[in-house]
Amino acid sequence: MACPIRGPFFAAMPPPDLPAPPPPITAVSPYPTRRRRWRPRTLSSQAGRPTSHTSLPPASVRAPLTPARPSSGRRFRDVVTLADQLAEAYRGFFIPPRPDKNLVDSQIMQKHEFVGHRRLALEKYLRRLAEHPVIGKSDELRVFLQAKGKLPLPTTTDVASRMMDRAVRLPKQLFGEWAAAQVVPQDIVQPAKGGRDLLRIFKELKQAVVNDWGGVKPSVVEEDKEFLDRKEKMQDLERQLTPASQQAEALIRSQQDVGETMGGLGLAFIKLTKFETEETVYSSQRIQAADTKTVATAAVKASRLYQELNAHAVKLLDTLHEYLGLTIAARSAFSDRTSALLTVQTLMSDLKTLNTRVEKLEAASSKIFGGDRSRLRKVDELRETIRVTEDAKSCAIREYERIKKNNRNELDRLDREKHDDFLSMLKGFVISQVGYSEKIASVWATIAEETSRYARDNN
């Protein structure tokens, strides 16, 4: 039986007529409406034009991006929806984490700094999504970037309304009659948590407890030692990346402060120069004013060089942040795997129970001459349930295998890319530090030379 991998969302969408991957995202710009909306722009978009065209590889057709009407901009809520959709549809993949919701009060929301900060974060997020070899080609992302008009309401509605939906079926569930077709095999591919099936949630929770407390050995275990090793390494990486990225941030801020203060010093000296020049009476003053001016100019120059150096250093920080995000994404992907495994285990344990019941009923029925009609009817019902559960189990196993494969592919990809990315990050950092430090050194060396007569006179 085929298990559709995508969630029910796509039932509502018309089939896409262009298979082109979404174009690389280069900018996200906010525009002023009462609720923030975001307009993703791509490569050849020009400032001020309401629509932009993308420069895609020749085979693709251009797709219009942002329509002029403000209502078709994206709200942050849409981004949250996109993230949730991707999490549902791409289990096992390392999906870059989305920016925080930052539930702050409206006063802070209006502040320019917050807007700029969020804008950058969104830009990064969308770019990373687009760079992912699988997700970058996804329909969800493409729709988000390109569809006109408002995005359709998310199907991932809150748990409360879902519970209301299913409350009607609850009594039957509690009496354990699976045959009321609660289980649609496709639903199996979604994790139980946050889903609609209360009974399934309870069962898997029970199974998890059984597993954890080690009373009963689960029928399928995570035996893949290689996987466990790599998972351990990933956790290690996360543990070290967190302080590393924090300290990198602090370093950049300190460098920034030095540059700014140097600029402030230069400015103060410029004012002093101006003052001395205006009030010159003695020749020594003129010399002093000239000296002060050269120092001021050098300080301002150095300040600018510091700022430029920092712009490069920020890229270093970016790589660390990106990989930190990936370790978090990996955690999520690994837990997809765990929950998929848990589903398999639960179903297997269910089957065991059902089969046992059938055996018992058949045994009891065979003792009665001519059979026990009510018992036999019960057996038939159970056999039906078993059949459905078997289907669900196959689906679940397929899903589990799929997620395992995704995990493995992603781990391989990460290992490959991480080495190169880290190396180029370090190289870029070192080279820019060397280059700018040399420039700053030469600025000051000139001044030291010009003022060296004062040192000589002193000795």
């Binding site: 590393a244 300190s254 103060a268 003052f275 020594s284 050194a441």
Partner: protein, 405 residues
């Protein structure tokens, strides 16, 4: 007994911080030692005088002095040498004293050393008897001399208050807030305006310099923390990439140390000279007040003398028997008035010389400070470049191996 040179000491236009060739008078303030406990704690300094001048007891003399001794000397000179810009002292700083950080002690020592040497190289001040007392007398005599002054300047708190009063009085008097007996010399007005403006500008640069010192320290700390974190991150990675990380981390920690060093250098050789000149400008303002007082006295006495003269003429005409008395009074008053005028004129003359000297000194001292600043920054930047550059070979090795692997 070494017979000293008999040639007269050379006057003025020497490099302000160093003694002349021969004859010479060279002093160093060294060896700060903390004495006493708790609130009574203070720092004592060793003051070493080397000279070949005949007025001194010998070629070398070592005495122990504390901050209040320097204050005593400063105040005595300020009383006696009106019109001269007395070199400034570092602040009393009642708060930091309790902490007595190594940095604070070093800053103070340096400032005191500069103070005493400036006096020693000033053509007038170096001849002061009080200076010789300060440099040569034993500690008990010094303490007695110091406590005699407590009649005028009592506790530090009072001193601060009096200083504040003087400051406001100076501004009031100099800016002409107190009533109108003031000079109208346009050049002098220009000078006053210049000095007030200079104080503001210098204070601003000093503030920025101090901030820059702090930023250097903070950057040093950040580099140290970053280095540690990067090293740990490297431990996660394998082989050659891991080595790059740990080399980067090690260099980062090395640079942290260099930054702390440069922060100290910046403080002592750039920020402190700026602060020193802020104080020097404030000292000039005190001289302005002295001049204004002298001018007022001269005017008042001249006025009073004139009145007395008129009165005397009147009495003469009336052939009164009060004439003799009045004449004596008049003559006394006239002498006083002439003295006051002379005092005022001395101050004006001295100030004119002093301001030239001040500007020359300022140019030289600030020039040196700029030189130290630029030299320090250049060295720091080169050290940074060198440190990071040394990581490149490891990065290259890593790149090559990954290309082959």
């Amino acid at each position: 007994m070494i017979s000293p040179e008999t040639s007269p000491p050379r006057s003025s236009s020497q490099s302000p911080r160093s003694p002349s060739a021969a004859p010479f008078l060279s002093i160093s303030v060294t060896d700060p030692v903390k004495l006493g406990n708790g609130v009574q704690a203070y720092i004592s300094y060793r003051v070493i005088t080397r000279t070949n001048l005949p007025e001194f007891q010998g070629p070398e003399k070592i005495v122990i002095r504390r901050y209040s001794d320097f204050v005593w000397l400063h105040d005595r000179l300020a009383e006696k040498y009106k019109g001269i810009f007395i070199p400034p002292l570092p602040e009393k700083s009642a708060v930091e004293k309790f902490r007595f950080s190594a940095e604070f002690i070093e800053m103070r020592r340096q400032a005191l050393d500069i103070f005493i040497n400036r006096i020693a190289s000033h053509p007038e001040l170096k001849q002061s008897e009080d200076l010789r007392t300060f440099l040569q007398e034993d500690e008990e005599t010094m303490e007695r001399a110091r406590s005699q002054e407590t009649g005028i300047f009592k506790k530090p708190a009072d001193l601060i208050q009096i200083f504040k009063d003087v400051q406001t009085k100076v501004s009031d008097v100099v800016l002409g807030k107190e009533k109108p007996v003031e000079e109208t010399d346009p050049d002098y007005e220009k000078l006053k305006h210049y000095i007030f403006g200079l104080e503001d500008h210098l204070a601003e640069t000093q503030k920025q310099a101090f901030r820059l010192v702090k930023r250097h320290k903070e950057l040093g700390q950040s580099l140290s923390d970053f280095g540690k974190a990067i090293k740990l991150l490297g431990a996660c990675e394998g082989n050659s990439l891991g080595k790059v990380f740990s080399e980067l981390g090690a260099k980062s920690e090395l640079l942290s140390i260099k930054l702390q060093k440069e922060a100290h250098n910046l403080l002592m050789n750039f920020e402190e000279p700026l602060k020193d000149y802020v104080r020097a400008v404030q000292s000039i303002k005190v001289t302005f007040a002295d001049r204004a007082n002298a001018f007022r006295q001269h005017c008042e006495l001249a006025e009073t003398t004139k009145l007395k003269e008129i009165n005397l003429d009147k009495l003469n005409l009336m052939r009164s028997d009060k004439v003799r008395e009045a004449e004596m009074e008049y003559r006394e008053l006239k002498a006083e008035s002439e003295q006051a005028t002379r005092r005022f004129e001395t101050i004006v003359r001295l100030m004119n010389e002093e301001i030239v000297r001040f500007q020359e000194q300022k140019t030289a001292d600030m020039g040196l400070a700029f030189h130290q600043f630029a030299k320090g920054q250049a060295k720091l930047a080169n050290d940074i470049a060198d440190a990071w550059r040394s990581v490149l070979p490891k990065i290259e090795a890593c790149t090559v191996s990954s290309q082959h692997g």
